[in-house]
Amino acid sequence: MSMNTQGRPTGTGSGATASTSGSSLLPNEPLLFEIGDTEHSGVDLPDVAVSDEFLGGFKRKLPLELAGLTEPEALRHYVRLSRLNYSIDSGMYPLGSCTMKHNPRLNEKMARLPGFADIHPLQPVSTVQGALELMNELAHWLMTLTNTAAVALTPKAGAHGEMCGMMAIRAAQAAKGQGHRNVVLVPESAHGTNPATAAFLGYTVKPIPAREDGTVDASAVKAALGPDVAAIMLTNPNTCGLFEPQIIDIAKAVHEAGAYFYCDGANFNAIMGVVRPGDLGIDAMHINLHKTFSTPHGGGGPGAGPVVLSEALAPFAPVPFVRKGGLVEHAEDHHLGRICAFNGQMGMYVRALTYMLSHGGDGLAQAAKDAVLNANYVKARLGQVFSVPFADAGYCMHEALFDDHFLEGTGVTTLDFAKALIDEGFHPMTMYFPLVVHGAMLVEPTESESKQTLDYFCEVMLDLGKDAKAGNAERFTSAPTRAPRRRLDETRAARQPKLKWERPVELPQAAE
């Protein structure tokens, strides 16, 4: 492993030290900078001479210190690293609010067609008519599924979509002479991006408490509405996994008070093809293509967060957008400007449309129904042992929520429980979210899981639940013991931040 670095004074490598952990199939992998050096390269390129004539005196003097690997070394490094990751292809992610569903490989194949992958955002519009047609077709599917008037495709992720939607609301308020409205109502159960987005745009966040049954109280919203309120940001189905039963009343009250209704669409998977958010009175909603429409999470992005808009907000969409006859790239009248360079996440548009065409309108509705069926099945089976908050609220949507009441007195926390799930071969569920539930465990099985997988998951969960109650805390507090790493010291990471590789101080060596 340290072969490259020995006797190469120009190298960045230090020689990796052997470690005691790991197994024969999951060896510890040194850092790129410990394997490679500055001379090795996995790319063959001619070494051409260049003069300084056009460099303006700005030629680089600082050493790059970038480690290089030959191709076989690189393959081995990244394949070995990959094996330290859990992934949807290797197992279920019961991660509430994340919709970790199957990522069809046809999507990947289509996104790599040269007609999509190898086109430049600024090449002549006449040479990219197929790309614009694709954007138009995706927009049609999104508007039809939501019954809305327009869609801003360019937001690069859910939070970026929230920002875009809230900017459209701010612009619409300003156009009505209502720019002084500076309050946004956000239920306490909301995802963290909602208050962060509102604050980012300069709004004051006014929290709305949840009702006993986990839903938003229409009368609390009405009481909070006033001439200073610009909008409400509401997630539906909400983060407790429940459909907001008073949502139409809430939308009506919001509109009567001169405010707009922003809906967080993170949970659209529960209702696509079954309920159209436009019918509920929403004005703007982002759709996470990387959740609902199966574009891969990729270890944390790239995402895509198109925002559907009501008639009232349609004139405030950002540029660029596609209109019959071409691409509109410059702001005219009310458009709020540009929120990113170029045309947004084309690679994600291709994948999402491929997924939609594969499912069809009927398949999307069936997927939503199966997602809801799966969550209720898990809730029904686990309800015998796990504690269910808001038990009176009836059926859940596509997420089943539990709290840590059943762990009282066991010495096991929600975190311990989740880490024990790792040892049983599952990724943990979402923990401690939503904040309105004590020690929350939010399980979203998605429609991709078979009954067999769900049954096995439930058996593992029930076994863990019984074991915790039986007093076997050690199994939980020491977990995980079978993962590539045991629990990591996050306090140390934060107190003494080490955010990049540093060349170790080398002992003096004899000259070669």
């Binding site: 260049v50 056009f54 330290l84 987005t197 604050a199 992005g301 540009r338 929120i339 790493r485 931040p497």
Partner: protein, 447 residues
């Protein structure tokens, strides 16, 4: 439907366990009238080969960059991506992994991000880098907000060489604040940004190589803005340039943001791309986005975690440094693999090859009657002035399957000063015959 595992019998069994009479009963909380009683008006599900045919027909209507001579740049560049990169990023364990919030089962992604942060820090010459942003333009806007937080001052000055889309994104993010001063476009590489700096200035933003291809004096800008207590933000839209051009960090930059697309990522009609952001160590607590840090596990083994998350929305909610959540993980992976394959030796050769081809392009353009080259300095991109408006010439050449660059009027409309300008780029993929063909076509078009 091939993606849905349940049989009708299994669905019925599951409903029985739940105690629900039908699948529709599970949607009982939906207000009356809002539950659709018939399917949405969209096509029905479709076999794989038909979907593929549909998508291929759409793709076939586009002119791919490889289909002919190609000189389009202006913030996105066509480079060769080694086959190894795309093979690796399609491995299930990279492609279909979630954000690494559970470090015990995400060490692959986390170690890669740590390596990525190191690469970005070395490339830019800065002390620390984050785990990526959406793209260069949004990273620029976030850098501007970060500078305001750090200095507690408001005024932001944007160089006339900043990419017009980046300028527009910053304006949108700042809600067209009166304290945002975007200087007029400077196609000749001229700049009076230094004279605009005053005591209220939070930051100035300069791009190098700039939108028109000129290399800008970072050091002089740093001295001027630091003298007034402000910060210097340097934008790089072509990261390959850092293999040949001095690192902004070595010249006094406080925040460096880059569009990382050139390394590892395809053109993709504009996205997904990957934003890079690097800064000084003392500023990390005001830096947006995810950060990966080294630590140890319970057995004392080295491991990596997402850290300093008290800056982030999922912990701080309305007090977060940014609302950013998802970033550009897989594009960062592609960047990191490609950069790992290149290494210092490979990146240096790649940068020299880009510059050498650009020099050939510049020399050839000078031979075309009527064309004026505006650059005295450049890396792989330059601006020419035609005797006539540029947009129709670009369209004319596109008909001959030569994509000759970007007419500046496409990004800065209704400005007679830029109407005749074209920005063109050469990369390692540009051949001598591409350049000859461009020169011939331009000569013909300008006759």
């Amino acid at each position: 439907m091939r993606y849905l595992p349940h049989s009708a019998a299994e669905r019925a069994d599951m409903l029985a366990v739940i105690g629900a009479g039908s699948a529709e009963a599970l949607f009982g909380a939906v207000p009356k009238g809002a539950l659709l009683t018939r399917p949405v008006d969209l096509p029905a599900h479709s076999p794989e080969f038909l979907v593929e045919a549909h998508m291929k027909a759409l793709a076939a209507k586009n002119h791919a960059a490889a289909d002919g001579p190609f000189f389009v740049g202006a913030g996105a560049y066509r480079h060769h991506v080694p086959a190894t990169v795309d093979h690796l990023i399609q491995r299930s364990e990279w492609l279909t992994a979630y954000t690494p919030y559970q470090p015990e089962v995400s060490q692959g992604t986390l170690q890669m991000l740590f390596e990525f942060q190191t690469q970005v820090a070395h490339l830019t010459g800065m002390e620390v880098a984050n785990a990526s942003m959406y793209d260069g333009s949004t990273a620029t806007a976030e850098a501007v907000l970060m500078a305001r937080r750090l200095t507690r001052k408001d005024k932001i000055i944007l160089s006339g060489g900043l990419h017009p889309h980046y300028r527009d994104v910053v304006s949108t993010y700042l809600d067209n604040s009166p304290n945002l001063i975007p200087l007029p476009a400077s196609p000749e590489g001229q700049g009076d940004i230094l004279s605009q700096i005053d005591d209220d200035t939070a930051a100035i933003v300069i791009q190098t190589p700039d939108f028109f291809g000129h290399l800008r004096d970072v050091e002089k800008a740093a001295e001027a803005v630091h003298a007034k207590g402000g910060l210097l933000i340097v934008v790089v839209t072509e990261v390959v340039s850092l293999g040949l051009i001095e690192a902004p960090g070595a010249l006094g930059a406080d925040i460096v943001v880059c569009e990382g697309q050139s390394i590892g990522n395809s053109l993709n009609f504009g996205g997904p791309y990957v934003g890079l952001m690097a800064t000084r160590k003392e500023f990390i607590r005001q830096m947006p986005g995810r950060l990966c840090g080294e630590t140890v596990d319970a057995d004392g083994n080295r491991g990596f975690v997402l850290t300093l998350s008290t800056r982030e929305q999922h912990i701080r909610r309305e007090k977060a440094t940014s609302n950013i959540c998802t970033n550009s993980g897989l594009c960062a992976l592609a960047f990191s693999i490609h950069m790992g394959l290149l290494g210092e030796a490979g990146l240096t050769r790649l940068a020299k090859l880009n510059h050498a081809n650009a020099v050939k392009l510049a020399r050839m353009l000078k031979t075309v009657p009527g064309i004026e080259l505006l650059n005295k300095s450049f890396f792989n991109e330059m601006t020419i002035r035609l005797p006539v408006p540029a947009a129709p010439v670009i369209e004319l050449l596109a008909k001959a399957e030569v994509l000759a660059g970007v007419p500046v009027s496409r990004l800065i409309p209704n400005d007679p000063k830029v109407e005749n300008l074209i920005v063109l780029a050469a990369t390692e993929l540009t051949t001598d015959s591409d350049i000859e063909m461009l020169a011939e076509c331009l000569t013909e078009a300008l006759k």
